[in-house]
Point group: D3
Chain length 189, copies 6
């Protein structure tokens, strides 16, 4: 089970109303390679992964929920003071018509989140490569988002998140090599 602690993993500094950028950040909230997909991927996989990597997967899955909260906080702060007209101009008129100013996990295009974005195969090598790919895809998304903003504070938060994905990718690469070694030694004896 999880205990909620009322703080963000890393501070989110957003000092202005910028619904335009919020529209794109939503991709990491409920998009194909977003934080929700990541968290659910790892937390579903953990039941059938070998014991020695369950800890890594559980830790990273839990951290992705913290990232999800950071993204949600950014989106909320960037939009909370916007008028309906400003939301429309930012391409968030459809979001406002459907959800007012509430958060909702969809892609930047407005497609609701679906579990088809991730996989759990019950095969450790397949699952861990799925995880490396997930982290690399999230890294790419953060790069595209960084390319889309000039806001220094937002860039700082996004850079933090991108760096975490790189660290996770590295940990999953180590994990997959560990499992391959085990499998290979098992085949010998």
């Amino acid at each position: 089970m999880w205990i909620y602690e009322k703080k963000l993993q890393y501070p989110v500094r957003v000092n202005k109303c910028d619904p335009h950028m919020a529209k794109y950040l939503i991709e990491q909230h409920g998009g194909a390679d977003g934080e929700l997909a990541a968290a659910l991927r790892y937390l579903n996989q953990r039941y059938t992964l070998p014991d020695k990597v369950i800890g890594i997967v559980n830790d990273i899955g839990t951290e992705e929920f913290a990232h999800l909260e950071m993204i949600a906080t950014m989106v909320y702060k960037l939009t909370k003071d916007a008028t309906p007209e400003q939301l429309e101009q930012a391409g968030l008129g459809a979001h406002y018509a459907a959800h007012g100013k509430a958060l909702y996990p969809n892609s930047s295009a407005g497609v609701p989140f679906t579990a088809t974005y991730f996989q759990a195969k019950g095969d450790p090598i397949a699952d861990l490569y799925e995880d490396i790919a997930a982290e690399e895809k999230a890294r790419a998304t953060y790069q595209w988002l960084i390319n889309m903003t000039d806001d220094v504070d937002l860039k700082d938060s996004l850079t933090f998140l991108r760096e975490r994905e790189i660290v996770h990718s590295q940990r999953f690469r180590e994990a997959v090599e560990m499992i391959k070694e085990d499998q290979s030694s098992k085949k010998i004896f």
Copy 2:
């Protein structure tokens, strides 16, 4: 952010291999009124709900993650020792072909989880009735599941979960009345 604590909210006692029942329990894992939908519903809504109900919504959202873990644990325990043939006979052959023995959030029919199962409207009355409805629908699902099993231990866990939904429903009913009262007193002055 959330801290993981390595224990279940309530013990899950499953002592036998029963993939047949696992197939139906999956409904509460990734189905329309399942625990994942519930957790995401509340945790998305909390940004735009009035301060006085954010705590309730945040607590219940966090508890639903604990329920999700209980359901996942049940499904895993009921299926982990099953042969492919036993999974097929239990109607889980399609699950095995796609996911081996891994957990994956879909409905009992095998339809992957989608965020369209829940809503966040940015209107407190609408969101809180959505929440009451969610709890009543989850209560009903637990009832249908209880009707489908004779396993005493499983019935005990499912009864615990059903009772929690009833408590949540009650808390959301109190919350909606609280908000209505506030709105009504605001209109007067």
Copy 3:
């Protein structure tokens, strides 16, 4: 069965070409809390609801089809004289590429309607709270839409529709109390 009567439930006065607003109105055509979802929700639920509320549910379901027709008529009138370029400027270029000027039930973002937006649980209390929530969510959408337009005639039609949702919500609240009373009296004897 249903008999078609060639008139709208309430007159739709749209005297100008305004594809911009049409884009958002589509949310009530094929969106999550739109009139199609409402009609199908009630008409599916009616088979398993107790006799004493079937009439209410059947009437409201039938009325929602009339609302759907009003919304469709609005969208059609607001767009029928628009050039492709005007549709593009209004954010309806994707709609034009896919459907020309035809009506099609999707959300304002362009996501096709899905039955996952509503539920029928076969449990009267759960279904009736689902219905109250549905009406409150539709009320909220109409409010967001009213906030997005300055057109007096459109506001009039949307206000009519919003008021009907409030009436429906009230009727469903009465229905749920009626059923609760019945269930409670059954338990006594």
Copy 4:
């Protein structure tokens, strides 16, 4: 708008509990070529079709709602007295876990209805061929369903519905030829 008349278009005679067949009939309730898809297809298309075929499309769309009600009535009658165990044996366990005994528009496999099953293009020739195809596909589904049952009464209802689709297909073929003729004569002058 539509007026509800409390009778079925054609009597549905179901005298026994047969959830097994209900599972397949659901295909015509909420499946790709089912009655809901048909009704929505025609009622959406009618706004942009030429005046001379709007009547046909509106009539047939309205009739498809009557067919939808017939199918729903069949499914309800075939399942209402079934125990959870009988529903499971008939492959409806997932339906029961999610919806109890309520009706819900999904495919026989349990995939919720989606508007992507039909199209409205805003081009009369395209829309009318879409409609012919829809009727032929529905005719085929009724044939497959007839092949799956030995129940004389059920066969009678399904044969009635299949025949109606053949009549509709014929009417749409006449409509498309009428429109082609018009277009061809317009090109001459």
Copy 5:
């Protein structure tokens, strides 16, 4: 099996960066009536169609892959030199956030491709009318796209593709008459 030949079926002349038009062309890449849906429709149907029409269906299905490649090439050429800001202005900001400049089969609105866009019924008449409808709908989409651009080169490629759909529609109409004749003569003897 298929052999790749490194050339396009018909030259795609795109000499400028025009992401605005690319946004709409994507409809024919991964939209409801796009080239991917067409190719998969025919190539799935061919297994159960009568021998005498398998060749037609196989040829046209293979040609649709060539069309898909033409559309993809157009989209790629129109966007490859665009800055993120230009993509945003063209309504492709959500695409960039999710996919950078990669191609991806979704609709113009950004909804990922789904097989629910097409059907294979295992009934020759139904399948061939489905195919005629598909070609007519694709023809309509090309018309809407041609209406949206002033680019002479793009119009040329789109006109070529529209003409091919007309030819295909004609071939499918001949095929359906051929099958009807066969069925009718079979009934006689």
Copy 6:
């Protein structure tokens, strides 16, 4: 463009009617890690990948279409002589109601194929890890399928396909290392 050659990449020996196994094989036709997802993934990615890996991706994408045809042929041969009753007993009753004996790309559970199963990010490292993961997941699916059958001929075809995925995974691993090296040498100068 692609040229069709009327032969299978590798012979498919199926000598008996076995709809039971066909139900599971469909997972590789239209499931999350099936051959259609694989082919579309690579053929979409190729536009934005570096020149030196486009050939690999194009070749493997084209080969996946050949695999798709092998799987479709297997499914067709295993089911073509089955009665409706045999299809029902094999869990393919829902498929028969919807598609007769036609092929259709859905998962083993009957969920229609969706492009959300794959990704194209426009970032070479991310795309190539996505590809390695895809091959490993397909390998796992083939393993689960092999575990589900005793048919020697079917096992032979499935083993061939599994081996091809292992070869592809290896080629993608080489490709990703090649790109990493290039990027690393670029950073130096």
